[in-house]
């Protein structure tokens, strides 16, 4: 079965320090991976995705993610954290088990709460 794991419930970072939010995945076939962010009282906002190509994917708000096939990981990173980055972050993988795979639903991790302190 396809799945996503976010091993940390919460990540605490000081403003200005680099941040990493971890994600590992398990899929059959090619992985299509996504990161979303949910700010308080808001919906999910798309950050970035990996479909194919370069292992380092750049996204919105200065975030990037590194795809590592051998470690089946897709960690989210940012060189310098801001207090405004504090939010709930979700990693997701497209479910390719039903059909075709390109437009299947997303399977989400349980989310990681990022807290950036001044």
């Amino acid at each position: 079965a396809q799945s996503v794991a976010q091993p940390e419930d919460q990540v605490n970072v000081a403003e200005g320090n680099p941040l990493t939010v971890k994600c590992t995945y398990s899929v059959s076939g090619n992985p299509y991976l996504f990161w979303y962010v949910q700010y308080p009282n808001r919906g999910l906002q798309f950050l970035l995705k990996y479909i194919t190509g370069d292992n380092l994917v750049k996204g919105s708000y200065g975030f990037e993610a590194e795809f590592n096939k051998s470690q089946t990981s897709f960690h989210l990173k940012k060189p310098s954290a801001l207090v405004s980055d504090s939010a709930l972050y979700f990693c997701a993988v497209r479910d390719t088990s039903h059909y075709g795979g390109s437009q299947g639903n997303l399977i989400f991790g349980k989310g990681t709460k990022l807290s950036v302190k001044p």
Binding site: Y32, G101, S102, Q103, L106, G109
Partner: protein, 116 residues
């Protein structure tokens, strides 16, 4: 361009009552998905429309849930009768069919459903 919109933003009902949630996808997006996040757990897939057709409804929890997308535009999700365990946040997302593997699902703000 307007994003995905959902109505209402919050609904509080009593057990046994009926509630209907609405989702308006981004214009031109033929894919429409419903998801649910219950009690701080993972966001779980409910079902997927392509235009007005149900492509995949494997995530629907039981027959108390009925989703429709008449005319291939907006969608409704009806819960009848509602139970306590239905409480959670219901998200809608849409994407372009033509995008293929590159498609990104864009989410609405969600409807927070509280069943008392």
């Amino acid at each position: 361009e307007a994003g995905v919109t959902q109505f209402p933003s919050h609904s509080v009902i009593e057990k046994g009552q009926t509630v209907t949630l609405r989702c308006d996808p981004i214009s031109g997006h033929d894919n429409l998905y419903w998801y649910r996040r219950v009690m701080g757990k993972e966001i779980k897939f409910l079902l997927h429309f392509v235009k007005e057709s149900k492509q995949d409804e494997s995530g629907m929890p039981n027959n108390r849930f009925l989703a429709e997308r008449t005319g291939g535009t907006y969608s409704t999700l009806k819960v009848q009768p509602a139970e306590l365990e239905d409480s959670g946040v219901y998200f809608c997302a849409s994407s372009q069919v033509q995008a293929g593997p590159m498609d990104t699902q864009y989410f609405g703000p969600g409807t927070r459903l509280t069943v008392l």
